[in-house]
């Protein structure tokens, strides 16, 4: 009996032991997943590149020492700052130990960079590289065939000129080239079938400075942008899904052609031949690029929950959208002016977009009677983006750096005021002939005010000048912020009020009547000089005007894109051949002489790899827009007339603060939104407060150029989310209490169950398949972390429930 009892107890204990172990294991698993999911949120600002930077020395011991270019490349070392978790983004390629590119011409000694697909272990073949679609202006800068895929029979002793490289042409004409082979196995002699000048990311020339170093912002492309390469396509091997890897190939070009003859023996003195030709290809350095798997995109065809507002949020929202649809709601976004978004929010019209994005709050008069909830959503900045090449005169001390990018630019409020008021002669049609601008400089280049801060421009040719400061059309809070910054600066406001600067430069008189130095309501960029000009009498009067010469862009993102492409759409060239004849854009500025600046948003500047100017703040410090300085700018914001909303005080002196830091708010008109809409907004806010603040270039993350919200602001988002939850649970708004008639005459209930907030909340069956549309009113458990926490808690709870009674029983014994 005792023995039996013992055996029975032992077997019982064993069963319980096993169960307990299994349960605890599952619990620990869920808990660690919960921790992992929440830790992801704590990954702070900055780029996600940490750890995946790679440096490769050209001379790895396997190079052919008899290669004519061996001595030229021997010391070259190339670094790529991020080689894993890539998406459509910019990576910084830098190098040292190169030989200087001749300042006057891209003759020799430069790098060519391209993206390829290929074998994951051995690397790409030349056929697999996106190369050969450079613009004619670019390819004319380098040696014969150096920018394309064409080969010349016999030029390269290592190259195969067999049928695989012979272009099939009629009439027995013979030509050789490297065909392009796409990842799907198809191939073509003309790469245009797959990519074009506007879509290819190839870098024809990356120049090396006199110290042997250089850098280039290379745009990596996923299969969304370059399906022919397939990078990042989800591939599942052995149950693990990863993005298809690709390759970044750097082909250094030296001083000798493939056959060992010096470049100087070529008629143009430039090193010739395609980088895909065998000898040049053998000189390559290759980096394996790991791409984030392109997840399932949102399914097309679901109704979108509409939001609308400021362009400041556009970049982040576009990224968030891809992840947000996993919450069960697909969100839409319309970019409209901040003032429009404010008007929408309080319009009272049923069906108006209930959630708007704004930088400044709705004023008390307009907001009267409305129940508004504000939640901060992102920190970013208005920046002056630029794309300027060192275009130096031969007497410049750093002439050897000619053609490399300018990386330091400082602007004071007064300089920005001059650019925004057409006060430089070059920004006015026939500005040189205008008496009212006679005392003014032609452009930044000749303005002593500018040169004092940016001395390297003294060595630019006098005619070198930007196509104005590109600005967007329309009324925005971004424009208000800029004008407030200018008005707060005594020098700039004096200038706008008509006082000459110390060098005698005066504001363009067309802008005097606008009272820009004092008017606090300005929220757009005027282009007020109505002058027109025609180069000759063959051109019909009146010729071109300011908006032909300095056109608006549609938004700040377009301004950034135009800056990158160095094409301000300046329509000043009369084209008699057009039907009807018209002023046309002469096209992009040529590399080596690019000079474009624009007012844009920090995330667009980041996206397009623009340099950003340091702006002088109220404390007199020139500050670059960085995570830290934008954070300091947001920290320095002061309470506004609206409770809980902070705004920039342009007069506040904080050394470290970037003056045009922007904090964007979501504003919800609670009573004007339906309960399902409120539930969706709440899900959105919860996402924004969590995964939406994790910096990174993957879809769903906060794109580079934005700064994650600080903790106190996250708290404010949570509070707003809570307020919406409370309205959903116990409606206070009259509109939510009374039973509205639905369109088909039926009635809908308006008191849905309280949303699940705490981990202890019981799961509602709303997520079961086939749930009715009204189920959307009840948000399910919100974040992944919460889900795992609930799971872990339950796993841990079950054994407690079982062990508790056992313990009691034993004591009774």
């Amino acid at each position: 009996m005792k023995l039996r009892d013992w055996t029975r107890r032992r077997s019982l204990l064993a069963v319980f032991g096993i169960l307990l172990a299994i349960d605890l294991l599952a619990g620990i698993g869920s808990a660690s997943l919960a921790i992992a999911a929440s830790v992801k949120k704590d990954v702070g600002s900055g780029t996600s590149s940490g750890g995946s930077a790679k440096t490769v020395a050209w001379d790895d011991g396997t190079r052919n020492v008899t290669d004519a270019n061996y001595g030229v490349f021997k010391a070259l070392k190339v670094t790529v700052d991020q080689t894993s978790n890539l998406t459509d983004q910019g990576v910084h390629v830098s190098w040292t130990g190169g030989k200087v590119t001749p300042p006057q011409d891209d003759k020799t000694n430069y790098l060519q960079i391209m993206q390829c697909w290929g074998d994951p272990s051995t690397g790409p073949k030349p056929q697999q590289c996106e190369w050969g679609e450079a613009s004619t202006s670019l390819s004319s800068l380098v040696g014969s065939n150096a920018a394309n895929r064409s080969l010349v029979n016999g030029e390269d002793p290592l190259q195969d000129y067999g049928s695989g490289y012979q272009v099939p042409l009629a009439h027995n004409i013979k030509a050789w080239a490297v065909p392009f082979q796409a990842v799907d196995g198809t191939s073509a002699w003309n790469p245009l079938t797959y990519f074009s000048q506007s879509s290819s990311n190839e870098v024809t020339v990356a120049r090396t400075g006199q110290d042997g170093s250089g850098s280039y912002e290379f745009e990596t492309q996923t299969s969304l942008s370059a399906p022919e390469l397939g990078c990042g396509t989800a591939i599942t091997t052995g149950g693990v899904t990863a993005g298809r890897a690709c390759w970044l190939v750097v082909v250094p070009r030296g001083e000798f052609n493939a056959d060992g003859t010096p470049a100087s023996s070529n008629s143009d003195g430039r090193v010739g031949g395609s980088p895909l030709s065998a000898t040049n290809w053998a000189d390559r350095i290759q980096f394996k690029l790991g791409f984030t798997a392109i997840g399932a995109s949102c399914p097309l065809g679901r109704a979108e929950r509409r939001t609308a507002g400021s362009e400041l949020i556009a970049g982040a929202f576009t990224s968030w959208q891809s992840a947000l649809c996993a919450t069960g709601t697909t969100y839409g976004y319309s970019e409209i002016g901040d003032a429009e978004a404010r008007a929408e929010a309080v319009s009272g019209a049923q069906g108006a977009t209930g959630l708007g994005f704004v930088a400044l709050p709705i004023d008390a008069t307009a907001a009267a009677g409305a129940t508004l909830e504000y939640a901060p959503v992102a920190e970013s900045a208005i920046v002056v983006g630029y794309n300027i090449d060192k275009h130096l005169v031969t007497s410049a001390p750093d002439y050897a750096d000619n053609g490399t990018p300018v990386t330091n630019l400082v602007l004071t409020p007064r300089l920005v005021a001059k650019l925004l008021t057409q006060s430089y002669q070059n920004d006015v049609p026939d500005g040189g002939g205008k008496s009212y601008l006679a005392a003014n400089p032609t452009s930044l280049r000749t303005d002593p005010d500018f040169l004092a801060l940016n001395p390297e421009f003294k060595f630019f040719p006098k005619g070198s000048s930007p196509d104005g400061l590109m600005v967007a059309l329309g009324n925005t809070d971004a424009a208000s912020a800029i004008w407030a910054w200018l008005r707060a600066d005594p020098d700039a406001s004096d200038f706008l009020n008509g006082k000459a600067d110390p060098w005698g430069t005066v504001v363009n008189p067309s802008y005097l009547s606008l009272k820009l130095g004092t008017d606090t309501t300005v929220d757009s960029y005027p282009k007020a000089d109505l002058s027109t000009f025609r180069q000759s009498t063959d051109i019909p009067a009146p010729g071109y005007g300011t908006l032909d010469m300095r056109p608006y862009t549609l938004d700040m993102d377009e301004a950034a894109s135009r800056t990158l492409h160095a094409d301000a759409n300046v329509k000043t060239v009369w084209d008699q051949t057009k039907l009807p004849p018209a002023f046309t854009d002469p096209g992009a500025q040529v590399p080596g002489e690019r000079f474009e600046i624009s007012i844009t948003v920090s995330n667009s500047a980041d996206l397009y790899g623009l340099q950003t100017a340091k702006l002088v703040n109220a404390a007199g410090k020139a500050v670059a827009p960085t995570s830290a300085s934008i954070g300091a700018g947001v920290d320095a914001m002061v309470p506004s007339a609206t409770d809980g909303i902070v705004v920039t005080d342009p007069n506040k002196r904080v050394n470290a603060a970037y003056p045009l830091s922007m904090l964007t708010y979501a504003v919800v008109n609670v009573c004007n939104s339906s309960l399902p809409a409120l539930a969706d907004y709440r899900k959105l806010l919860n996402y924004i407060a969590g995964p939406g603040q994790v910096s990174g270039s993957s879809l769903g993350q906060l794109p580079d150029g934005y700064v994650p919200l600080k903790a106190s602001l996250i708290g404010q988002v949570a509070a707003a989310s809570k307020a919406l939850a409370s309205e959903i649970a116990t409606p206070v708004c009259v509109s939510h209490i009374k039973v509205p008639k639905s369109a088909n005459g039926g009635t809908t209930t308006t008191a849905p169950p309280a949303p699940a907030d705490a981990p202890s909340a019981t799961p509602t069956p709303t997520a079961t398949p086939g749930a009715s549309p009204s189920a959307r009113m009840t948000p399910a458990v919100q974040t992944t972390a919460t889900r795992y926490t609930v799971l872990a808690a339950l796993f841990f709870a079950v054994p407690c429930l079982a062990i508790g009674p056992i313990l009691l029983r034993r004591r009774r014994l």
Binding site: T241, A339, A349, P765, A767
Partner: protein, 540 residues
């Protein structure tokens, strides 16, 4: 009994195994399912519709679709499509129109027209009186034509005065701002003038050296010395008028540009004798009268014939309403592949349905069901289109209703009495200037009692209230419509999707719920079982 106990143990063991298995599944099931893969596509053309196209292409990024679009003007869009440099074009007018005696040839590649968005060609202006901005200008068609043909040269012209009994008009010169590039907006406006005010228009054309009768043209003829200003692109003309100093200017541009820049638009006199604004609803009402070429064999299939719109007797109609087209390929050539076709079709399917939800907030009007139906039929002609995914029943277009009537037009408010041609004039601003107090109120200003319209949703105008008053909610058979008491405008639509698509797949969150439910059941069931088992064991 031991057998019973063993059964209990077995039961618990079984449950645990199920539970553990579920937990394992939950953590290993990958949420990445195969995505429909799209390839990037590019287009060019109309700046009239670009504010809408730009928003669509931003929103479809979440579906993995990349669309590039260059807003270079309709003429350029048609030329680029013809040359094969873009995958689609956008234009307000079709190929084959005769402009200044020259007929534009059609492209050799196969193509089809597909409506993309509707809207009103608005007349945005910059006018001041006594230092205050005028925001409630109204114009009859005759006056409008004479303004843009140099017949009326000053704003205090008696003809303008006749339209605006409530305004003290300034003695400023009229500066008509026209497009310098080939433009669909120009074509739309000149077509209207050539149809309704042909003698004024022909006289002007003659003076500009154009062939007469003039008809529609994409390139507005400018006679030097008449004070006209030509600017490139929609943002050029809108940007020009939006300069504070450019008082006296007026231009034709899509309504969204006026909203974007915060400038007012003129209310235009319709055939019923009311001055109306190009709101989404007023455009929707007018477009009910658009004749569409419904002959699928015609090369101009689906192009519009707007005579009925111009003369629509509905008091709410905005006479210069129209829609824009996308020109899409129907053949694989010029670098257009079936992969691109699949992407273009998916994009079109999006903007014809869901994308139309955005139209109103941007200053456009959503396409009505007949145009969407016809448009979707065209989408199916794009090579590579995934026909099975195109279904009008799943189309979440805000004008659709279960009864087949155009919800937007149905719910459109009747104009206020003060908008009727006569001695009174509403004082409320237009465009995005509604909140601002209009200037230049002279004698007889907007004191009309609000009598509302005849429609089910009409509301009265409270008179000369300028402080912006609340809203009135009217319940009718079609749901609740909220109307602005100041303007009498009930702008917003009760969107009724014909068939709401449901998320139906059994995914990770469903597993979660099932698992949580099971765990809960266990939490409830385990203690009693254990207690019973323990008691039994104790008793024996």
């Amino acid at each position: 009994m031991s057998g019973q106990r063993r059964r209990h143990a077995t039961l618990i063991g079984l449950l645990s195994v199920i539970l553990f298995t579920l937990a394992t599944i939950t953590t290993t099931v990958s949420s990445a399912s195969a995505a429909t893969s799209y390839v990037p596509i590019s287009g060019a053309g109309s700046s009239w519709s670009s504010n809408a196209i730009d928003q669509w292409r931003r929103n479809v990024q979440q579906y993995g679709i990349r669309v590039n679009y260059a807003s270079t003007g309709s003429s350029d869009g048609r030329n680029q499509f013809k040359a094969g440099t873009v995958d689609f074009g956008a234009s307000e007018i079709p190929y084959g129109t005769t402009d200044n005696g020259v007929t534009e040839p059609a492209p050799s590649r196969g193509y089809a027209y597909m409506p993309d968005v509707a809207g009103g060609t608005a007349f945005m202006y910059n006018l001041q009186s006594g230092g205050k901005r005028i925001t409630n200008l109204r114009l009859s068609g005759d006056t409008l034509s004479k303004l843009f043909t140099g017949v009326i040269t000053h704003w205090n012209d008696p003809l303008i005065k006749a339209d605006n009994p409530g305004l003290t008009l300034p003695d400023f010169k009229v500066v008509p701002v026209v497009r310098s590039d080939g433009s669909g907006s120009t074509a739309q406006f000149t077509l209207w003038m050539s149809k309704l005010h042909s003698s004024v228009w022909n006289n002007y054309c003659r003076s500009a050296g154009r062939k007469v009768p003039c008809g529609e043209t994409s390139n507005f003829p400018v006679v030097f010395g008449k004070g006209f200003v030509a600017q490139p692109n929609s943002q050029g003309v809108a940007g020009y008028v939006a300069q504070t100093a450019n008082v006296g200017t007026i231009t034709y541009v899509e309504y969204s540009y006026a909203i974007k820049t915060g400038y007012p638009v003129a209310k235009i006199l319709n055939a019923a004798g009311y001055y109306t604004e190009p709101t989404a609803s007023n455009v929707a009402v007018a477009l009910l009268k658009a004749q569409i070429n419904n002959n699928p064999t015609s090369p101009s299939y689906l192009t519009q014939q707007l005579d009925g719109v111009y003369s629509d007797p509905d008091p709410r109609a905005y006479p210069l309403s129209s829609y824009s087209y996308m020109i899409v390929p129907t053949q694989i050539q010029d670098g257009f592949t079936s992969a691109k076709g699949a992407t273009l079709a998916a994009f079109a399917n999006y903007f014809l349905c869901e994308g139309q939800q955005q139209a109103e907030v941007l200053g456009y009007s959503p396409l009505p069901i007949n145009l969407v139906k016809a448009g979707l039929a065209q989408v199916k002609r794009i090579p590579g289109a995934v026909v099975s995914s195109i279904n009008i029943k799943k189309c979440n277009n805000p004008t659709f209703s279960t009864s087949g009537v155009n919800t937007l037009a149905q719910n459109a408010a009747q104009p206020s009495a003060c908008d009727k041609k006569g001695v009174t004039q509403c004082t409320i601003g237009t465009g995005s200037t509604k909140g601002s107090s209009p200037a230049g109120t002279g004698t007889g200003t907007g004191t009309a009692p609000g009598t509302g319209g005849t429609g089910s949703t009409g509301t009265g105008d409270p008179g000369a209230a300028t402080t912006g008053g609340g809203t009135t909610t009217v319940i009718n058979a079609h749901g609740s419509t909220s109307c602005d008491a100041d303007t009498g405008i009930c702008q917003v639509v009760n969107a009724i999707p014909v068939d709401a698509p449901l998320p139906s797949s059994w995914g990770i969150s469903q597993w979660f719920v099932l698992l949580l439910c099971l765990l809960l059941v266990l939490a409830i069931a385990v203690p009693p079982i254990v207690v019973i088992a323990a008691r039994r064991s104790h008793r024996s």
